[in-house]
């Protein structure tokens, strides 16, 4: 398990940045809660995969690496889009299927994008070759100050795309950070029933001649220090790395999954290690935030989400006349 100097990280980031990070984790949490409520009211359709319980990981990763890299993740994409600058308004509108949505109402919950977020991918492991390709582009273009970051769930490790991508990335020295967010469940199948080794990164990486790490995904500080280390490692060595981040989602696989395969007791234990609670506690203990400030942050996030819901609600539907428009990208309009 990767160890960090928490005090040093607190010093390095300082209270204002750490408060911002807590704010982002709260924004994710509130977004998921409000969106789920909207789903229950029939405002949102289709699949819906909540990131609740995993907030520390991507918040720390984006803080440590910066937004100016290529990112890709699975269908559990709400948090990463928020962290990379998509507004709660455009994301909520996308969930509502409105034309003002992040993908004009064509993508839905699993397909959010930003300038540097290549997607939300609906097929398990489908994003791994894509992120590998982004790393290939960086190398092709000679960009030495950027990396590609590929998030995936533990279930993706069983897919062929995982194996082929890691083999190519290692073979060709591509600057890619592969992050397995092990939330313990591939839908309803416990990870030990799906993957033949206990440590998803450390047991697998040797087969790709890659370095491996394991982070505590419930702790923002470990994740931040870990990702910062990986970032420098990848930039320095121009080699890919593989990391497993241990976490556990609080919700079912998707909104329609009541997670009957998990006992109430074990869920209770998991929730005791709520990454947001841990973060609050740490900042309070370090006198970097007050209870009042936390309350104010919570209030602010509630307000922002109400604004987002209102925006989504009031936004127009896509015009059915546009249905068959923009299926293929137009020509570049050069001398073709």
């Amino acid at each position: 398990m990767f160890e960090v100097d928490r005090e040093a990280i607190k010093k390095q980031l300082g209270s204002s940045l750490l408060k911002e990070c807590l704010g982002r984790m709260l924004l994710i949490r509130h977004f998921e809660l409000r969106a789920e409520a909207a789903y229950q009211q029939g405002k949102v359709g289709g699949f819906f995969h909540s990131y609740i319980g995993q907030e520390a990981i991507q918040t720390a990763a984006v803080q440590a690496l910066g937004a100016e890299n290529w990112y890709a993740t699975s269908y559990r994409v709400h948090a990463l889009a928020l962290l990379l600058g998509a507004s709660p308004e455009e994301l909520m509108a996308e969930l509502f299927g409105k034309v003002t949505g992040n993908a004009k109402g064509r993508g839905g919950s699993m397909h959010f994008f930003t300038d540097r977020l290549l997607g939300g991918f609906g097929i398990v492991a489908g994003q791994i070759p894509i992120a590998t390709g982004a790393a290939f582009t960086l190398k092709y273009q000679g960009k030495k100050n950027e990396v590609a970051i590929c998030f995936m769930g533990d279930g993706a490790v069983a897919q062929g795309a995982f194996h082929e991508s890691l083999n190519l990335a290692s073979l060709w020295n591509l600057p890619c950070i592969y992050v397995i967010e092990n939330n313990q469940w591939g839908m309803g199948t416990a990870v030990h029933r799906a993957i033949s080794v206990p440590c998803l990164a450390e047991d697998k990486a040797a087969g790709y001649n890659m370095k491996a790490y394991t982070f505590d995904g419930m702790d923002f500080f470990t994740c931040y220090g870990g990702f910062q280390h990986l970032y420098h490692q990848v930039l320095k060595t121009e080699r890919p790395v593989l990391v497993e981040v241990l976490t556990e989602r609080f919700k079912g696989h998707s909104i329609s999954d009541p997670a009957l395969y998990r006992t109430k007791e074990s869920l209770k234990q998991v929730i005791q290690r709520d990454p947001i609670l841990i973060m609050k506690q740490a900042l309070l203990e370090a006198n970097m935030i007050t209870e009042e400030e936390i309350k104010a942050l919570e209030k602010e996030m509630r307000r922002r989400l109400l604004v987002a819901l209102d925006f989504a609600e009031k936004s127009p539907w896509p015009d059915p006349l546009t249905l068959e428009e923009e299926v293929v990208a137009p020509d570049l309009g050069d001398d073709k």
Binding site: W70, A72, G101, N102, A103, K104, G105, R106, G107, H111, F113, T114, D115, L118, G119, F121, G122, I123, G126, I128, P129, I130, A131, T132, G133, A134, F136, T137, L138, Y140, Q141, G160, A161, E164, S165, N167, L168, L171, E326, V327, V328, A329, P330, D331, L332, D334, K336
Partner: protein
């Protein structure tokens, strides 16, 4: 060789197209199995590694899912990959990346990411390579929106269409034929493009319209010659672009001939011929004087024995029989 033209094999026409487009745009690169040091499984990329180096002519392990998906990611982030499948049969293991990612991305992302990528390689039957190496993929993939599907039948179209394909800003399937790589043709020395979405009338006629594409054009040409001997002037149309389909050229022909025979190397069920026939019905119902006839591959996996292989593929004999039936002869 006359001034300004050259006689080249189809594979050389393709090589020139790739070479010229790599010269034109530094973001164009080739990736695939044996494209570099081996000079291409069918020598389409011969000499390109020597000229462009391993950064732009990228040999891969046998890993179609991995490198096809990687190229989709590269296309999303600013490059313009040409993916060579040693055979389109191997594209099936990469199909999720092609279908779920490459062709959905532009629409699904609200037009945030385009995927300028060409998937090319031999399609269809070769010579006795049996059931797992003889698929025609155009009907399978053509069913899906989001890409252009091209299938040239000769060196001229191969070069001009491939150059157009590489300049498209969205995914293109470029289907070649292993048996046609050695076909020679006189083509211009200089640069030229062939427009996407335009069929070509290979042979003008007024008695019956034959529509086909790729290697089957040559089988149709043999049939057309025999029909001439019988005093029947058939009009032969080469689709060149399968999707988007140039129904205007086909419809104009049908309105003239009133009889149609469709010839396709792929299987008959839900094939390209079925689509062409339906669109003819939509556009020219009142002009048809006979039911549309189809000559396609029979509903069997490709058998190995050459006797059976010949039997399952469209032949001159089967085409002539279909023409006779259409003309009530």
């Amino acid at each position: 060789m006359s001034h300004g033209t050259q006689v080249v094999e189809l594979r050389e026409a393709l090589r020139q197209a790739i070479d010229e487009e790599m010269e034109r745009d530094p973001n164009v690169f080739v990736m695939g199995e044996e494209v570099g040091e081996y000079n291409g499984a069918y020598k389409v990329t011969k000499g390109l590694l020597d000229k462009w180096g391993p950064r732009r002519i990228v040999d891969t392990p046998i890993s179609e899912l991995g490198f096809a998906g990687l190229c989709v990611g590269a296309a999303m982030t600013g490059l313009r990959p040409i993916v060579e499948f040693m055979s389109f049969n191997f594209s099936f293991v990469a199909a999720d990346q092609m279908i779920s990612n490459a062709i959905k991305m532009y629409y699904m992302s609200g037009n945030r990411f385009s995927v300028p990528i060409v998937f090319r390689g031999p399609n269809g039957a070769a010579a006795q390579v049996s059931s797992q190496h003889s698929h025609c993929v155009e009907a399978l993939y053509g069913n899906l929106p989001g890409w252009t599907v091209l299938a040239p039948a000769n060196a001229y179209d191969a070069k001009g269409l491939l150059k157009s394909a590489i300049r498209e800003n969205h995914p293109v399937l470029f289907l070649e034929s292993e048996l046609s790589y050695g076909d020679k043709m006189e083509i211009p020395v200089g640069e030229y493009l062939v427009p996407i979405g335009k069929a070509r009338i290979i042979q003008a006629g007024d008695a019956v319209t034959l529509v086909s594409h790729s290697r089957m054009i040559h089988v149709c040409q043999e049939a057309v010659k025999e029909l001439v001997c019988k005093g029947i002037k058939a009009e032969l149309i080469d689709l060149r672009t399968i999707k988007p389909l140039d129904i205007a050229t086909i419809a104009a022909s049908v309105k003239k001939t009133h009889h149609v025979v469709l010839v396709e190397e792929g299987h008959i069920f839900a094939g390209i011929a079925a689509e062409v026939a339906f669109q003819i019905m939509e556009h020219c119902f009142d002009y048809l004087d006979a039911p549309i006839e189809r000559v396609c591959q029979c509903e069997t996996p490709m058998p190995y024995s050459k006797v059976l292989e010949q039997e399952t593929l469209p032949t001159v004999h089967r085409i002539l029989k279909a023409v006779d039936k259409s003309l009530y002869q």
